[in-house]
Symmetry: C2
Subunit: 106 residues, 2 copies
Amino acid sequence: MEMRRDIFQAIADPTRRAIIALVAAQAMTPGAIAAEFSSSRQTISRHIQILTECQLLRQDQKGREIHYHLNPNQFKEIADFIEPFRQLWDDRFNKLEALMNNPTNP
Amino acid sequence: MEMRRDIFQAIADPTRRAIIALVAAQAMTPGAIAAEFSSSRQTISRHIQILTECQLLRQDQKGREIHYHLNPNQFKEIADFIEPFRQLWDDRFNKLEALMNNPTNP
DNA sequence: TATATTTGCAGTCAAATAGCTGCACTATGG
DNA sequence: CCATAGTGCAGCTATTTGACTGCAAATATA
């Protein structure tokens, strides 16, 4: 029944990206997260569940509260996807890369 | 009727990511792209249309053939999303950043 | 001009998704 | 022990999505 989630599908939803941005700043409880949105608490809870399945979020139980915090490692899969194209648009990256390949030269 | 497409939704589909990877190597016609997949030509054509709506692909009409090629600029939106988290996992990036902040000239 | 090739568009259908409400479970405090 | 607060899960519905088939438009070739 439950389709295998991948991280690209997880970040496809704008609400979930907003949740990620919120939690990135500080760990938050589901209630506090839901308070930031107009959707119902249960709906936000479902989004949190999806993000947790992809390990984008991690739980931190404290008494009856659960604090969710970001797991930045999972973003590597997205980074790996766009990395091959990065040099085609990111001048800053090109400068960094030049320094990396030629660290001692002018 | 037609929902506004965003780029995150565009790359959520694995077939579309595969199309992107194909076209990144070289510009291709819809027919040639479809030949790489088991889905029908029309289904692939629909995916190409979605990618083009998001400007991830660009058309290049040559007679009755249309060559699609990648528009890497659009990946910036994805990069901007994950960039804030990059330093938290990417050691290589940290090294590059260090070089950038402390260039070769003493 | 007639024909074949390349492509896009409309229509249909099954499956997945995101939203809601209601209920059950756990932990804290009196 | 009981009430309350914080969460998760089940079930329902409307919307969206991805796949297919069929057809039309445009271009190249005989």
